[in-house]
């Protein structure tokens, strides 16, 4: 597709008097001190740095409005004559941000004197139709063929066009933007005592994203100028904009999800998880005024003769593409030589049919071993485009899997010629941020790629395990209990990738000719002081026990060797407790299980052990411990 998956965003920030007014002073430590405009600019500054890392090919621009000053794309101003855009100030052109762009925002955010005269509000407000057409022209000339073009408007004025005529002109210009494929996202800011009313103006200029199904809405957010619930306006702006700043890109669209023979719905796939990598190093040309990245173009040729070009290039004995195609083959190394296939033949080897997700059946989630992980999962969500009713069927399936802790098993081909994969289909519950109430993970299903037999590796053979004695385990248990992560969850947002952040921080400093930072911020380093404070004493006690037990163990072993114990298996000093040996509950013979059941000793086992047993025997793993024990007892009885 030529409509490349590139994104262009313009931040349109209102610089009116009310936007520049800082919140009233407050005694609270957490109180906001930023004016809404300052928060918006800081937000743009932060998001720009973030996008350089996460979306290095995407464009971003910053357009201020209601400013006394006026500025548009430099080169165009002359050609446009006097027809300008009053009270619109294009602070950053819509471009892939450069170090200078970052610097410009930084100096404005830091209140640089030179920039101060930009942030002077106009006496009369901007004409909204003018602002919208200004954005239109920026998108048209700067971001042609971009698959995604968005205008983010940050304002506290809910009725910027009072006169009918002005409002109509604005709605027409808004429709132009819609027809140009530009989506307007509004970030409204309410002041204490007056709520931002979208119906006054903005509902007339905002259209739904045509890619979203029409009634699928996430509740709209209204931001508060003086912050709310202890979160600053800046924090909530960043959180809200962040949830929208990356355009939702589908990995695959309208894929048939075959629930059963001749019964399909359609789903879309999304890459919610994606390892963010550092950009690769490149070549830089220093021969010009400014350092430039040299673009590399690859030409293919054989060792004897240039056979064809991917891009038109001078010279060379080009052979027609058709001839080149016919002579190119795909070859595999085999027994020291090459075995070749025609290109189409080789493609055919990966062809297992058209894209599809086909259900094979269901298993309890407990049958998915922890280690069975090879690749990140893909999120899927229903789409009504091909099959009306997809959403309700998907929802019913999701509810069932969620309720009974089941997983689907699927055969999945996401693209033509991409080869099939076997996936577990796992349900996810919606997870909201505890503070902002924003969605962190959506409700839906995940395609979890399963390993094949070919993918399983084993560690080298280990001597039989030395089982720790109870007192040592008990001691360690206290340590573990003391050191739970906050809220007892792994929250990815608390752990930015330190290497990635450092890489770009250094590059940014170098690009701006600034002093290099010295100490990296690394949130992944454990909080050593806290560990020491909370569990230090317990770790010390554990160390003492370990020392004694290890000495005793070695002693016993030496004696054992002297007496030449015939089996060379090391036996732990103490008798292993039930739980310890019971990991093999699932491997026990039915006779042994029956004994346990009769003696009522099944209760001594832990939930996971029982669950493991149940899933091994194909029993349901849901319910309380007593349910599981009962189920196992019944099973033992029946299996005679």
């Amino acid at each position: 597709d030529y409509m490349v998956l590139k994104d262009a965003v313009i931040f349109a920030i209102d610089i009116s008097k009310s936007m520049l007014k800082p919140p009233p002073p407050s005694n609270s430590k957490k109180a906001d001190t930023d004016s809404p405009a300052a928060a918006a600019l800081k937000c743009a500054y932060q998001i720009m740095q973030q996008r350089i890392i996460s979306n290095p090919k995407d464009m971003m621009g910053v357009l201020l409005f209601n400013t006394e000053k006026e500025k548009f794309l430099d080169e165009e101003v002359a050609s446009r004559g006097s027809l300008g855009y009053p009270h619109c100030y294009l602070l950053n052109d819509l471009e892939i941000p450069s170090a200078e762009d970052v610097k410009k925002l930084k100096s404005i955010v830091e209140g640089d004197e030179e920039m101060a005269d930009i942030l002077v509000p106009s006496e009369e407000p901007v004409a909204m139709n003018n602002l919208l057409f200004c954005a239109n022209q920026i998108f048209t000339t700067k971001a042609p063929n971009f698959g995604s073009r968005r205008l983010f408007i940050i304002t506290d004025e809910d009725n910027p066009a009072l006169k009918k005529e002005a409002k109509e002109s604005a709605t027409v210009r808004a429709k132009d933007l819609y027809d140009l494929g530009v989506i307007i996202e509004l970030f409204p800011i309410s002041h204490p005592g007056s709520n931002f009313d979208r119906t006054k103006f903005y509902d007339d200029i905002i259209y739904r994203d045509p890619n979203e199904s029409d009634e699928a809405l996430v509740a709209p957010v209204v931001l508060n100028s003086s912050g709310s619930d202890g979160i600053s306006l800046l924090a909530s702006l960043i959180s809200d904009i962040n949830s929208k700043q990356v355009p939702k890109r589908t990995l695959f669209s309208n894929m048939p999800f075959e629930i059963g023979p001749k019964f399909s719905i359609s789903v879309k796939g999304y890459n919610i998880l994606q390892r963010q990598q550092k950009a690769k190093s490149c070549y830089v040309w220093l021969g010009g005024e400014k350092a430039q990245i040299a673009e590399g173009e690859t030409t293919k040729f054989t060792d004897q003769e240039v056979q064809g070009n991917e891009t038109p290039r001078e010279g060379g004995n080009k052979i027609s593409e058709a001839d080149l195609k016919a002579s190119v083959k795909k070859a595999y190394k085999f027994g020291g030589e090459l075995v070749s296939f025609d290109v189409s033949e080789q493609k055919g080897l990966k062809d297992f049919g058209a894209p599809i997700l086909r259900l094979i059946g269901f298993k309890p989630q407990s049958m998915l071993p922890f280690w069975a992980s090879v690749k990140k999962s893909t999120f899927i969500y229903p789409s009504e485009e091909d099959f009306i009713g997809s959403t309700r069927v998907f929802s019913a399936l999701w509810q069932k899997l969620q309720k009974d802790e089941l997983m689907g098993l699927g055969w999945c081909i996401t693209r033509k010629n991409s080869g099939p994969s076997l996936v577990a289909i796992l349900p996810s519950a919606e997870r909201l941020d505890e503070v902002t109430k924003g969605q962190v993970f959506p409700a839906g299903l995940w395609l979890y790629p399963l390993p094949y037999a070919d993918d399983i590796r084993s560690p080298p053979e280990q001597p039989n395990p030395v089982r720790a004695p109870d007192n040592l385990i008990d001691s360690m248990r206290k340590v573990v209990q003391q050191l739970q992560l906050p809220k007892a969850i792994y929250d990815p947002s608390r752990y930015p990738n330190p290497a990635l952040q450092w890489h770009y921080k250094i590059l940014q400093a170098m690009a701006l000719d600034e002093v290099l930072p010295e100490v990296p911020e690394d949130m992944t380093v454990p909080k050593y002081r806290q560990i020491h404070k909370r569990a230090g004493q317990l770790i010390y006690e554990w160390g003492v026990i370990l020392h004694d037990e290890a000495t005793a163990y070695n002693e016993a072993r030496r004696r054992g060797l002297k007496h030449e114990v015939d089996d060379d298996q090391e036996k732990p000093k103490k008798k292993p407790r039930a739980t310890a040996s019971a990991a093999s509950l699932a491997d026990m013979s039915t006779t042994d299980l029956k004994k346990l059941a009769v003696d009522g000793r099944l209760e001594k086992y832990t939930m996971p052990q029982l669950k493991e047993l149940c899933s091994a025997k194909g029993l349901s793993t849901s319910g309380k411990k007593a349910d599981l024990v009962l189920r196992v007892e019944q099973w033992v009885e029946e299996s005679y």
Partner: protein, 724 residues
């Protein structure tokens, strides 16, 4: 790694093996040889110099072997038991043919083979080498078999326990068929355990807090590693040999020469190499520039990185400046309960950590951690910096991993999976699935997008009826898990391997055949289960009431008028304001708005007018092209306008309006009429696939798919070559 292998194949070449049986059109020999070829191919593909393969024929016309020819007649060593190369295959294909005789016997051949394999695998001092020895006998069982002889050969004493003996000595088809079936069973290649961390697993900072922090000596190994098919290299069939001779002078082009990874070549294939040329934007007054670009030499370039659109050069000596300095370490951040973790957060392959097996204290220590995690049903979250090199103190970039305890009779260990960082999670918001939020913000529980009770129940029944957890059968016929991981094989990997082996041993075949059944076994639910669940599925279909959307209703003015959130009648407003003329500044929006009017009587006229205006604007955009930076974007704008116009003409079923525009445009671009160097724009048009609309895309088009392809294909060779 598996032991060295030596295999001798004893092949029955008696005249009777030329017959065909069981309705096959293949001779028994060819049929049976499939197994042998496949086995030889597997050996070849393993590519291990120490592996040996020999082939001995019996019931051959000649006698040629190391033992007494009188005693063991009609037996020939076709290929001595040595290493095998592709070139041997041709000879084997030539020599393995049914003979003219039926004299000779299998047991004698076994005697010859045993003696031969012993000699072939003996060390220099005569002692047996460390080999896994296998003899495979392939016979139609029609020849003479001397049972006494068999005793004799069986009586030979081997001190090598691994000695394997394999017979397929009956003429029953079943035996052959089993062997053939065995072939399609994918072989999982064993791999050497790979250690990816060796050092201390710590809790707390033991360097700073000696007494209140701990560490345990551990080893960490791969637990899963995705096995990918070998990648194919691109080669070109060499033109006739004669033409090539004398042209061996090396090719020199400024820039890099990168070899595609290609090993030795057959005489008729040549590697495709890559030549990289680097260009930068030229200064506006640079007369040596071409298309605003300047070609630069690799040697003039510094290494560096992009920061947004800025380039940051970093000198050779400073390359490490952007790397976060870390020490190789493995340290626990904290713990979380099992039920607070979602499996879909797993970012990739798993590893397994065990205590240093030589350190009893470490084994006790790790065991206590493993058991306490198990009892508390908790995972550990840890930060891991692997060493940059084995044993190095310097660490790679940090990873965060989630560790789970595993305990069984053989092993106590921690298994881990990688976790995402903040940057790895994209915040895409999706509406909830159990309620609907309306435009006004109200929450609705009954809605056409939500299942009603019937559907919920029908789905529940269907899911229960498709349970796989007990659907499989173990070897005793007891119900067990269906489709366990150990029974699933990578379809693409094995399909490619099988095809490569087949092609290598049978280069004359042109068809690569279908994938083996075992590879697509799990592409559908098991038939028995489907039948069992049929009624539940019917009930589900009924309750779901899913309707397929008919193919898009094409056409004129059938589009619903689009409204903003407020339901404002924007189309009426537009009608009263817009004129007939599309303004070049706002062309895409106004073109689309003009077409939205196409619902009345004179669509043809309106569409013609719109297309004409749009065409003129595109031409104007192309001609507005000026040297300098804006050149690129006006061209891009032209391409976007063309895309919009083409899509609209398809939608409104007026393909010729576009075709009439693009034909002269191509001519003018290529002839230079639209200015110098416009071929580049044509390439953009080509890569955007903006050629003629063919009859496959729009029924009303008189242009065939071939004509459209030819129009767009416009071979590079046809283009006027620019002179240097």
């Amino acid at each position: 790694m598996a032991a060295k292998e030596a295999t001798v194949y004893i092949v029955d070449l008696g005249a009777s093996t030329a017959d065909c049986h069981s309705g096959r059109i293949e001779s028994d020999l060819d049929f049976g040889m499939r197994y042998v070829w496949e086995k030889i191919a597997i050996t070849l593909s393993n590519n291990r110099a120490s592996d040996r393969v020999g082939v001995i024929g019996f019931r051959t016309d000649q006698t040629a072997h190391q033992l007494d020819a009188e005693e063991y007649p009609n037996i020939s060593i076709i290929k001595p038991c040595e290493s095998i190369k592709m070139s041997h295959l041709k000879e084997l294909h030539r020599d393995i043919k049914p003979s003219e005789t039926n004299d000779g016997d299998a047991v004698s051949a076994i005697v010859v083979a045993i003696d031969h394999i012993q000699q072939a695998t003996a060390l220099k001092d005569g002692k047996p080498g460390k080999y896994k020895r296998t003899i495979v006998l392939l016979t139609d069982g029609q020849g003479h078999m001397d049972p006494d002889g068999l005793d004799e050969s069986g009586g030979i004493d081997f001190d090598d326990k691994e000695y394997g003996f394999k017979e397929e000595d009956k003429s029953e088809i079943k035996v052959f068929a089993e062997a053939i079936e065995y072939l399609s069973m994918p072989q999982v290649k064993p791999t050497r355990p790979y250690s990816c961390f060796q050092g201390k697993l710590s809790l707390g900072n033991w360097k700073e807090y000696e007494e209140t922090a701990l560490y345990i000596d551990v080893n960490r190994y791969f637990k899963t590693k995705q096995k990918k098919p070998e990648s194919a290299s691109t080669v070109v069939s060499r033109p006739t040999k004669g033409a090539m001779s004398g042209q061996s002078s090396s090719h020199t082009i400024g820039g890099d020469l990168e070899m595609d990874d290609a090993p030795a070549f057959n005489g008729d294939m040549a590697a495709v190499k890559n030549d990289r040329v680097y260009t930068v934007k030229a200064a506006e007054d640079d007369s040596t520039a071409e298309n605003g670009k300047l070609t630069v030499d690799r040697d003039e370039l510094a290494k560096g990185y992009a920061y947004g659109s800025s380039a940051v050069a970093i000198s050779e000596a400073e390359q490490n400046i952007v790397k976060l300095e870390t020490f190789a370490e493995f340290t626990i951040i904290g713990f979380i309960p099992w039920d607070k973790y979602e499996r879909y957060l797993n970012m990739g392959e798993s590893c397994i950590t065990v205590a240093d097996s030589t350190n009893d204290k470490a084994r006790l220590a790790l065991s206590s951690l493993i058991h306490s995690l198990h009892e508390l049903e908790s995972y550990a979250v840890a930060r891991l910096c692997r060493p940059v090199r084995k044993g190095s103190e310097e660490g790679k970039d940090p990873e965060i991993i989630l560790l789970a305890p595993i305990i069984d009779n053989e092993i106590e260990a921690l298994v881990d999976v990688p976790l995402p960082f903040a940057e790895d999670v994209r915040l895409y918001k999706f509406p909830p699935l159990d309620r609907v939020i309306t435009t006004s913000g109200a929450v609705v529980k009954t809605h056409r997008n939500l299942p009603n009770d019937d559907l919920v129940e029908a789905m529940s029944d269907y899911v229960d009826s498709m349970d796989l957890s007990k659907f499989g059968k173990n070897e005793y016929g007891k119900p067990t898990e269906y489709m366990p991981i150990e029974d699933t094989y990578s379809p693409v990997l094995h399909r490619i391997n099988q095809a490569v082996r087949r092609r290598a041993t049978h280069p004359e075949e042109t068809n690569v055949g279908d994938p083996a059944d075992v590879l697509i076994k799990y592409s559908h639910p098991p038939q028995d289960l489907v039948e069992k669940a049929a009624s539940a599925l019917d009930a589900l279909k009924q309750a779901a009431d899913v309707k397929q959307v008919p193919p898009k209703v094409k056409g004129k003015g059938k589009r619903e008028a689009i409204k903003p959130l407020s339901d404002l009648k924007i189309d009426l407003l537009l009608n009263s304001r817009r004129r007939e003329k599309i303004s070049p500044d706002n062309s895409i929006a106004e073109f689309r708005q003009m077409l939205d009017h196409a619902d009345g009587t004179d669509n043809a006229g309106l569409l013609r007018d719109a297309a004409k205006q749009m065409g003129d604007i595109i031409v104007e955009l192309i001609q507005r092209h000026a040297v300098g930076t804006s050149a690129g974007t006006t061209e891009e704008q032209a391409v976007e306008n063309m895309t919009v116009m083409r899509d609209a003409m398809i939608e409104y079923e007026e393909p010729e309006l576009y075709n009439k525009f693009i034909r002269p445009l191509k001519r003018d671009l290529l002839s230079g009429k639209m200015g110098e160097n416009r071929t580049r724009l044509w390439f953009k048009v080509k890569s955007a696939k903006l050629g003629l609309i063919d009859d496959g895309t729009s029924e009303k088009s008189p242009v065939s798919a071939e004509q459209a392809a030819e129009f767009l294909g416009s071979k590079a060779a046809e283009l006027p070559t620019r002179s240097k």
